[in-house]
């Protein structure tokens, strides 16, 4: 089996590169907590390219409106049909913002409407245990702009397997730091990313 590669998706609209350190941080977390074979650096792959078909996991983030082109839409649909797992995170701290509205529209068109993930979803148990659902981010708790906690994640499934995971908890900000600085944290706050990756690769 090929080593796991963290792929950040490039899309034509918006700021796809708003969280450049998430890849390294998630790679660090996966390496730290699992024995999976991992590629040491993330890759940036254009959403409409066939290169994406070589990877089972991809991450998409940004602040600005997300409007896929027809090619991007078709490429994403094909990739999901073939078992790809897409993790989308809203990089804004707002509620019902423009990224949220537009990306949810786009995902619904490609993967079907998103539904709320229950707290007993396998995603929360596949590696670390999160009995209360997704972990909160520091931005949610100290209130950068919304001071609200987004209590659940959403997703779209295919054949009983989660294929699109959508978060508006702003993990992009939470995990966007150099992994060398992780030593200053009492608890690794990227552990939930391990669950996401392990779920994507094993379910």
């Amino acid at each position: 089996m090929s080593p796991f590669t963290f792929v950040t998706l490039q899309y034509e609209s918006g700021d796809w590169d708003s969280a450049p350190l998430v890849a390294a941080n998630v790679i660090d977390a996966v390496v730290r907590h699992t024995s999976l074979e991992v590629t040491p650096a993330g890759r940036q792959v254009a959403l409409g390219s066939s290169e994406l078909l070589g990877y089972p996991f991809a991450f998409l983030t940004g602040h600005l409106p997300v409007r896929f082109t027809a090619q991007e839409r078709a490429g994403l649909r094909t990739w999901l049909d073939r078992g790809g797992f897409l993790f989308v995170d809203d990089h804004n701290h707002d509620v019902d913002g423009i990224f949220h509205k537009t990306v949810v529209e786009e995902l619904a068109a490609v993967a079907g409407p998103l539904s709320r993930l229950p707290t007993n979803h396998p995603l929360y148990r596949v590696h670390f245990q999160w009995p209360d659902g997704p972990p909160n981010t520091s931005h949610e708790l100290n209130g950068w702009g919304d001071n609200l906690v987004h209590e659940y994640l959403q997703g779209a499934s295919r054949a009983g397997r989660l294929s699109v995971l959508y978060s508006n908890k702003d993990y992009s900000s939470e995990w966007n730091f150099h992994p060398d600085n992780k030593r200053f944290y009492a608890i690794d706050n990227t552990r939930f990313a391990v669950n996401v990756v392990v779920y994507a690769l094993t379910r």
């Binding site: 089996m1 090929s2 490039q10 034509e12 609209s13 590169d17 450049p20 350190l21 890849a23 390294a24 790679i27 660090d28 390496v31 730290r32 907590h33 699992t34 991992v38 040491p40 650096a41 993330g42 940036q44 078909l53 070589g54 089972p56 602040h63 600005l64 409106p65 409007r67 082109t69 027809a70 049909d81 073939r82 078992g83 797992f85 804004n92 701290h93 913002g97 423009i98 537009t102 596949v126 590696h127 670390f128 245990q129 950068w144 702009g145 397997r161 900000s173 150099h178 992994p179 690794d188 552990r191 391990v194 392990v198 994507a200 690769l201 094993t202 379910r203």
Partner: protein, 661 residues
């Protein structure tokens, strides 16, 4: 025998002959027209109506040509005279009362000649009729436009079920007319169409897929009605031991197609335009309902963004294609530098389905990025100290020039030489900077990075003299001698360092003038050096977006430093999917191996309905069914089906992920 009975007899014969020929011509032309109409995609009813009209027209034409309304005695007599010129118009003469010609008529064989002529005319009519019949029999059935003309090949159907009339009524919103077929094999109704099956005799068992449909008796007929679902299905009509199969391949109402033609691409503008032109083309297979443009304006940067969203000129458009052009005034939006306007066109069809075009973005540049619009600022460059020093030297030189009239010439030369030595020191700092970039030892003025090693042996580096360095700078800057060909000879390193080499070159000129006691002459070179340094500084403050620097994780070190082990997990094995396609192939082979065309057709029809989700494969099976039914060699068709099976995507388990070839 007088001519009057002869003329009367032939009056009757010619009338019968003309009517017969007209009818034969009408039958032939009608048959050919019907085949042509069906072949061109018309319904059975349309084809036969058209055939009837053509037949009547042809019959009328033949009747008029034969002069049916004008068959009076003199015309018949003239016709008889024409058949045998030797009579010299005796028949007409007899009709006019001349008795001398009767014997001549009696002695002639005018009736035999006329009968042969009439028989030939009749043969022409029969020929046209036979031609029509041949076309009707030989013309291959055309499947398409929702019609399959062929009749069931299984004798059980026609004998047991009889003719089944199928009436398809599309959903009301489509505005499409109903269609009628007789015992079709395959139809392509719109999803949600109402299908009515009727036939004669007792009510049979009717099933649509796995669903039972009630068939009710009405007089001596039976009727069953159902609504077409989104998935393909096989309709089974069974009575006693007879069965009739009808394949339904539903056609979905397609999403509207929207193409935004203007703006043609994403754009960055120095200032907000007063207006922007939008042009889009909207299409739908059934019909559009409304069209509009939508915009989102995003303001802010970093972690703070706000947005405005709105619609432009929503309009009802009840056509299948419309092109719209709008001039959008942007002034009310009060766009600021850094704002991004996202635009797209949206259409909804009569069914309420909504589709949008690609989105175009118009960004208003910030002042700081006016010279390079797709870049972000990087940390300051390392030449700031040089900039200050060069400016200080210029200030000192300008002051010296101002004082030049009031001081002695020897003092002017000494002062100028002192500034010249500072200029030389600064020049060496700049050269060190260039060497550091090139990876050389910055301890002296030697240079290897200009891409002109001139065949020197690898590994043997010769230090350049200051003059050679100056020449290199000259070549790089084009100040003297030939310009370096930037595309062929210049190395990237020299390209990046070009402003610094320019500065170095100008500093040489300035230093030489200063040391010779000519500060005024040195100033232009000093200004040029300052400008070059500022250019180098500006050039290096920027990096392209999208080329983010990848952080490489030291996997071994991280694994060794791991403190939290987490909980073990057991990956659940994902069962491999059954090789569905292999099973499909086996079914095709099995159907063909039976040797019974009717049974093979039925089996393939069932399979075709199951494969309706893959149009290419379903079409290949359609062709195969037609080939089997027509008793043709289907080798190539089978190969095509096999190719379709092989070309389709395979479902794989996630755990065995591999790049798809």
């Amino acid at each position: 025998m007088t001519s009057t009975p002869l003329v009367q007899r032939w009056q009757r014969r010619l009338l019968a002959l003309s009517v017969s020929v007209a009818v034969l011509y009408a039958i032939g032309a009608g048959a050919i027209t019907a085949c042509l109409g069906l072949w061109l995609g018309g319904t059975v009813t349309q084809a036969w109506v058209l055939a009837g009209l053509v037949a009547v027209g042809v019959a009328a034409w033949r009747a008029r040509r034969a002069g049916l309304g004008r068959l009076h005695a003199s015309r018949v007599a003239l016709w008889l005279d024409e058949q045998l010129p030797a009579l010299e118009y005796a028949v007409q003469g007899t009709l006019a009362g001349s008795t001398g010609s009767a014997d001549r008529i009696r002695a002639s064989h005018v009736e035999q000649v006329a009968l042969r002529r009439a028989f030939r005319a009749l043969l022409h009519g029969v020929g046209v009729t036979l031609a029509g019949a041949a076309v009707l029999v030989l013309m291959p059935a055309r499947s398409g436009s929702g019609i399959d003309l062929s009749r069931p090949t299984d004798a059980r159907r026609t004998s047991g079920i009889g003719v089944v009339s199928v009436r398809v009524s599309p959903p009301t919103y489509t505005g499409m007319p109903s269609q009628s077929f007789e015992s079709p094999e395959l139809i392509h109704p719109m999803v949600a169409s109402r299908v009515e099956l009727t036939g004669r005799g007792a009510a049979p068992d009717v099933r649509v897929g796995a669903r039972t449909v009630d068939a009710t008796a009405r007089g001596g007929d039976w009727v069953a009605t159902f609504t077409v679902d989104t998935v393909a299905a096989l309709v089974t009509v069974a009575r006693d031991s007879a069965t009739y199969l009808l394949a339904l391949d539903p056609v979905r109402d397609a999403l509207p197609q929207v193409e935004l033609e203007l703006p043609a691409r994403d754009t960055v503008m120095r200032a907000a335009p007063r207006a922007v032109g939008l042009r889009a083309v909207f299409r739908d297979d059934i019909g559009l309902d409304s069209t509009r443009f939508e915009y989102i304006v995003t303001s802010g940067d970093g972690e703070r963004f706000t947005f405005k969203r709105g619609e432009l000129q929503p309009r009802r458009d009840a056509t299948t294609r419309v092109s719209r052009e709008v001039t959008w005034e942007l002034d009310p939006l009060a766009l600021q530098p850094g704002d991004v306007v996202h635009m797209r066109a949206i259409a909804s069809d009569r069914r309420g389905q909504v589709a949008a075009s690609d989105t175009r973005a118009l960004r208003i540049a910030r002042a700081s990025e006016a010279d390079s619009l797709a870049v972000d600022a990087a940390p300051p460059a390392e030449v700031d100290g040089s900039v200050i020093s060069q400016r200080m030297l210029i200030n000192l030189t300008e002051a010296l020039v101002r004082r030049s009239r009031s001081i002695a010439a020897a003092n002017l030369r000494a002062e100028s030489a002192r500034i010249g030595r500072d200029q030389a020191r600064l020049r060496r700092q700049v050269s060190d900077l260039i060497f550091a970039r090139l990876g050389d030892d910055p301890g002296g003025e030697h240079f290897h990075g200009d891409g002109h090693e001139h065949g020197e042996q690898a590994g043997v580096r010769r230090a350049l003299t200051p003059d050679e360095l100056l020449q290199a700078a000259d070549r790089a800057t084009g100040a003297r001698g030939a310009m370096i060909d930037a595309t062929h000879e210049e190395t990237p390193v020299v390209a990046v360092s070009r402003p610094l080499l320019e500065a170095y070159n100008a500093m040489w000129d300035a230093g030489r003038e200063l040391e010779s006691g000519a500060p005024r002459a040195a100033l232009p070179s000093m200004y040029a050096a300052l400008a070059a340094i500022q250019k180098a500084r500006a050039a290096e403050r920027l990096y392209l977006r999208g080329a983010t620097r990848a952080v490489v994780v030291d996997l071994a070190r991280v694994r060794l430093a791991g403190k939290e082990r987490g909980s073990d997990f057991v990956a659940a094995a994902v069962p491999r999917l059954t090789p569905v396609r292999q099973a499909v192939w086996q079914r095709i082979v099995g159907a063909l191996a039976r040797g019974d065309a009717a049974r093979a057709t039925d089996s393939l029809l069932v399979l075709r309905v199951e494969m309706a989700g893959e149009p290419a494969l379903a079409a290949a099976i359609d062709t195969l069914v037609a080939g089997v039914r027509g008793g043709r060699d289907v080798t190539e068709t089978v190969q095509a089906v096999r190719a379709r099976l092989g070309a389709a995507s395979a479902h794989r388990a996630v755990t065995s992920w591999r790049p798809v070839p």
